[in-house]
């Protein structure tokens, strides 16, 4: 489904990605681990179109998406969250979901002026869908509160729900459980582990090895922008190269 080959990216002489390549199957949950500054988030940025890699190629569902802009990448089926939590906090929770649906009916200037009824109908249907998603995530009762009034954990949950709303085939989750309580952690774990049964896959950046082991089929260990090791969580953990990288 996803083929990444030889990605390279430097920031002012610092290597962020170096000949980074891997492949991913459908319905797979892939963990991405490594020390801080290993290039994990840079890889997410490159994959989601926020930065352009200097060389290399990304193929997704048979299409070369390397040079796509971010909105085109989302419409081809890749959606992401951020390590520094991003949401529109000054609008209600449900509006964040509605924004993620990517319909353009009510954004067309002609429709806005002359076909108010028609876009309002679509909006009603969307609201219904959004409430269902929020119910699934367990924050339906907060649907009409400002996103800012949610707890930090609920906000993280909401950002993942937004990815679900974007109807992505592949979710890129950057530290989805960092800094949240165990109860919320279990909720997020459940949502992620149910992704394959919905035909979706995910790449997860996370430092919590316990979480990675419970949820990931396969793990990639990165250091200095390079793939050091790849395999099941157990294999990677016992790889001498990984142990060496952490001991350094």
């Amino acid at each position: 489904m996803l083929e990444v080959s030889n990605l390279n990216k430097n920031f002012d002489g610092v290597t962020a990605l170096k000949n980074f390549s891997f492949e991913m199957k459908e319905k797979e949950i892939l963990g991405m681990i490594g020390p801080n500054g290993a290039g994990k988030t840079t890889f997410f940025n490159a994959l989601s179109g926020f930065i352009k890699p200097e060389s290399g190629k990304v193929k997704f569902l048979g299409k070369d998406i390397t040079s796509f802009s971010s909105h085109k990448i989302v419409s081809s089926g890749i959606s992401r969250t951020f390590q520094d939590l991003r949401l529109i906090r000054q609008i209600p929770v449900i509006d964040n979901i509605l924004l993620s649906f990517n319909h353009s009916d009510g954004e067309n200037f002609y429709n806005i002026l002359f076909k108010q009824k028609s876009w309002q109908e679509t909006e009603e249907l969307d609201k219904h869908k959004a409430l269902k998603l929020l119910e699934y995530a367990g924050i339906k009762d907060k649907a009409f509160d400002l996103a800012n009034d949610l707890s930090y954990g609920q906000q993280k949950l909401l950002s993942i729900t937004c990815c679900l709303a974007a109807d992505a085939k592949l979710l890129l989750l950057d530290e989805p459980i960092a800094g949240i309580n165990p109860e919320m952690r279990e909720k997020i774990l459940r949502i992620i582990s149910e992704l394959p049964s919905k035909g979706k896959s995910a790449i997860i950046i996370e430092h919590d090895m316990d979480f990675i082991e419970r949820i990931c089929d396969r793990v990639i260990f990165m250091d200095m922008g390079e793939k050091i090791s790849e395999g099941t969580p157990d294999e990677v953990r016992n790889d001498p190269k990984v142990i060496e990288a952490y001991l350094e």
């Binding site: 951020f82 991003r86 709303a165 919320m184």
Partner: protein
């Protein structure tokens, strides 16, 4: 109370009032002066509503608004003077011309971030002024364009103050209607979201540049309507009416009235246009009043920025970068966190 005659009587009364306004009698000067102020307020309501879409709702500051205002005025004036085209056609042409300029300026410059975009619009504003000022054969240069014909709508000549006021009210109402529809639609939600966090909006798959260009064009087109009224009402235009200072005045209206609040723009326009007029009545000589006016605007803007950055009615505190506000909110929710 609800007798069937009442509306009729009311209408007759209104008609009488209208006729009495059309006849010139001594003592009417004050009324005309009042109507003049109201027409000016309508013009600035159009300008501030259209700019609010950009500054308030989308969070992008443009100081080229007077340039689009000028495009509207000059297109309407030149068409009427040179080609003698009908007024309604001139309105449409002015809107289209301003929209085209909006696209030409917006498409390249909206790629720039924050301050750089402001500088790009500043550049356009300066260029526009120079063109109007130096293209003497076409625009009359610094001498301007005198003798602009007053509007004629299907044979009905608009010439008195009251008629102009009705025309201005209609156009201001139209602009309010369009703006209101936009801000209440999903497109309005998209604009506000872009203001709050571009990165998130990008990540959920929105084409930010396209949305910004769209709103920029809409804003420019609506601003041109004010130009059309101004040109045909005053019947004389010259480049000094469309300078950077004018842009800044419109920005002040938006900020003081309240960014991201349409009613705020109406209130702001009424307040800032009427304020210097009130100065006349406290007996300041004209030469001093002009300076006092400038001081007042400046002081008001500073006071608002310090004490009430969201303006009278606004919801959005202008002046802080969206990234700052985002970071602050994130920190707050982390602190009051459930971990």
């Amino acid at each position: 109370m609800n007798s069937p005659q009442t509306p009729l009587l009311k209408r007759e009364g209104l008609l009488k009032l209208l006729f009495s306004l059309q006849e010139k009698r001594p003592g009417d000067e004050f009324l005309e002066y009042l109507l003049h102020i109201l027409i000016l307020i309508c013009i600035y309501v159009i300008l501030s509503l259209s700019l609010n879409l950009l500054v308030g709702y989308t969070g992008i500051l443009s100081i080229a608004h007077a340039a689009f205002y000028g495009v509207g005025a000059y297109v309407a004036a030149l068409m009427a003077l040179r080609l003698e085209t009908p007024f309604l056609l001139n309105i449409i042409l002015a809107v289209i011309a301003a929209g085209v300029f909006g696209a030409v300026v917006g498409i390249p410059s909206l790629r720039l971030k924050d301050d750089y975009f402001v500088i790009a619009t500043f550049a356009f504003q300066i260029i526009m002024f120079s063109v109007l000022n130096n293209l003497v054969e076409f625009t009359g240069g610094p001498l301007g364009l005198p003798g602009i014909p007053q509007p004629n709508i299907f044979g009905y000549e608009i010439s008195t103050h009251i008629e102009f006021l009705i025309l201005s009210l209609l156009l201001a109402g139209l602009v309010y209607w369009v703006s209101n529809r936009i801000v209440k639609s999903p497109f309005g939600r998209l604009l506000k979201s872009i203001r709050e966090d571009e990165v998130f909006v990008k990540a959920v798959g929105r084409d930010i540049s396209a949305a910004k260009v769209k709103v920029f064009i809409i804003s420019a087109s609506l601003a041109s309507l004010a130009g059309v009224i101004y040109a045909t009402y005053i019947t004389y235009i010259d480049p000094t009416s469309f300078t950077v200072m004018e842009s800044i005045f419109i920005i002040s209206i938006v900020i003081i009235g309240g960014a991201a609040n349409l009613k705020g723009s109406i209130l702001g326009a009424a307040f800032l246009v009427a304020l210097p007029e009130l100065l006349r009545f406290i007996g300041l000589p004209n030469s001093i009043a002009a300076n006092v006016r400038q001081i007042l605007y400046g002081a008001l803007l500073v006071i608002m920025m310090m004490w009430r950055p969201q303006g009278f009615l606004g919801e959005y505190a202008f002046g802080k970068s969206s990234e700052d506000r985002r970071q602050k909110l994130e920190d707050r929710s982390k602190r009051g966190n459930d971990a």
